[in-house]
Amino acid sequence: MAEIHFENVTKRFGSVVALREFNLTVADKEFVTLVGPSGCGKSTTLNILAGLEDPSEGLIFIDGKVVNEMPSGKRDIAMVFQSYALYPHMSVRENIGFGLKVRGMTKAEIDRRVEDAARILGIEQLLARRPRELSGGQRQRVALGRAITREPKVFLLDEPLSNLDAKLRTQMRADLKLLFTRLGGTVVYVTHDQAEAMTLSDRVVVMKDGVVQQVGDPLYLYDHPDNIFVAGFLGSPTMNFIDCELARQGDQVVAMTNGVVWPLALPADGPLLDRARGRAVLGIRPEDIAVCLPGQAASRQAISCTVEVVEHMGSLNIIYSDVQGTRLVATTESGFVARSGDPAVLTLNAHKLHIFDRETSQNITAT
């Protein structure tokens, strides 16, 4: 049982506020990811939880107990660092067992636990080596071994995969998910990679400039972003944003930009028009745009465009299209054939549109 709770935690470095009134409860055995661009305060949050930094204000609870004054070693946490931070002068065996040795465990018990961890991670044959003799992926596993061998209440992972190459990263991501499902510990994971956040977590905390933007189930956040930042941060390729004017056309709302009228299929009698005060940002994910060749479009709401670039990803194509000076990115199945300069038509999925307030960046679609 290890529930983590942050209560109004603020951290200042001189005049810079790295974290502002951070509130979060992580349930026992929950996998929560803090995600955001660099400098958003996610690593600071983790360091505060680990006891490596003191908060300027606010309380941190682990298991219902305030741990602000508790030294790091007593918090029963284990941490995996982005740089792995293995002890270069120790063998893999000593690295993994060091935390246990410091805690005064018997040699037999240390050996047993180290070997267990090594077996789980598949690094038994590396135990006698030094960190410098290991590949990046192997070092990563040793760093994980050092964490799991302690059998802590809470695992903290600070961008553990960002030093690996793309292929290994995808593989380790799946391994991590499997590992922590099996171990069943509480995990706080920090990353700037939205794909890791989406795939690994039970819940995602999106942060920017030290402020929490939105917390929730990854798929919910993907479909219902609270603001432009969350909408743009999650998903790859990223969501299209179009500055537009909202207007009434018959009983429906339309968006207008550069003389193009974008039918939105939203009823004009809702509060949307009032809320947007005419000006808004239209957001649509690339997979919610259907691209066809002229003449194939079934819908009368299709918009004509020119294909600029086609990226063949193998499983799908990414189409960069130009709609009278506005660039829209769409994904199509790999069978779609088009060349740069070809005319095409786009149809927006009206149910997946997001309207954001241009001044506050807030999502105002639903209300």
Partner: protein, 283 residues
């Protein structure tokens, strides 16, 4: 001549030039050492000839016998005790002080002030403080003791060790220490089991300098000791008097004085190279 041959020739010529330059520099550096050793084994008359005798006509070891048979062995032991004790103390205390100063436990402004004052003690030429220093040591009843010299050398060596080790500690990746903190290490455990083993090359470098300094130091040794704690540099100076200048014995003793420093440097050479380039390459 083909382009490849031409290129090879040019490369060989420039390599040759490089070696010639290295040899020239080596001669300049090594000649005094050669002169010292050769003088120590020359027949005494040859050390005064003009033009100088560059190569001894025969090898004579009388000077060594003269130097070793007297009570000089005791002074050699003195020198070793003082130099080793000061080296150990300077390195240990200096490393600990530098570690404390390299961390955020003390506010930056205070740290900066402390570090500046530590350096200030090295700014004065030693001679300026020699007289008051002698009076203090005498009043403490430490004149002509090992303690007097060891205290002096430690206090003079500390600023150097602190400033040098500070760089090594600051170069240590912060994450490694954070990992040790999370692993439950106290500050002392962290220093002993993680930080120190990783900065050992740096410590070896500083230890060599500390050793060389206390081994060679003459001014304070001549002021603070008279007989019991006298060290070799002071003994060597006694070969110069108003009546005679014993070049041969002086050189013999000088040659012997080089040996411990060379052994010490060779023993730590492995660390020396790593230490001087520490932090240059990540890995």
């Amino acid at each position: 001549m083909s382009i490849a041959q031409n290129y090879r020739l040019r490369r060989n010529v420039s390599t040759l030039q490089l070696y010639l330059l290295i040899i020239l520099v080596l001669i300049v550096i090594a000649f005094p050492v050669y002169w010292l050793i050769s003088t120590s084994v020359k027949p005494s008359i040859e050390s005064l000839t003009n033009p100088p005798t560059y190569i001894p006509s025969r090898l004579v070891f009388d000077n060594y016998i003269a130097v070793l048979k007297s009570e000089n062995v005791k002074f050699l032991v003195n020198s070793l005790i003082v130099a080793l004790a000061s080296t150990v103390l300077t390195s240990v205390l200096g490393a600990m002080a530098a570690y404390a100063l390299s961390k955020n436990y003390i506010a930056f402004a205070i740290r900066r002030g402390l570090m500046l004052w530590i350096l200030v003690t090295r700014i004065f030429p030693p001679i300026t403080t020699a007289i008051p220093y002698y009076v203090i040591i005498k009043n403490l009843g430490l004149a002509d003791t090992y303690a007097a010299l060891i205290i002096t050398y430690v206090s003079y060596g500390l600023p150097f060790v602190i400033w040098l080790m500070l760089g090594f500690f600051q170069d240590l990746p912060a994450d490694i220490e954070k990992a040790a903190i999370v692993d439950g290490c106290s500050m002392w455990q962290r220093f002993r089991q993680v930080v120190l083993p990783l900065t050992l090359p740096g410590l070896a470098v500083t230890a060599i300098f500390a050793f060389i300094y206390s081994w060679n130091e003459f001014l304070y040794a001549s002021i603070l000791t008279s007989f019991t704690a006298k060290t070799l540099p002071v003994v060597i100076s006694t070969f110069i008097s108003d009546q005679y200048l014993r070049w041969g014995e002086m050189s013999a003793m000088g040659s012997m004085m080089i040996i411990p420093v060379m052994i010490f440097a060779l023993a730590t050479q492995k660390y020396l190279v790593r230490g001087l380039t520490f932090g240059a390459v990540k890995g």
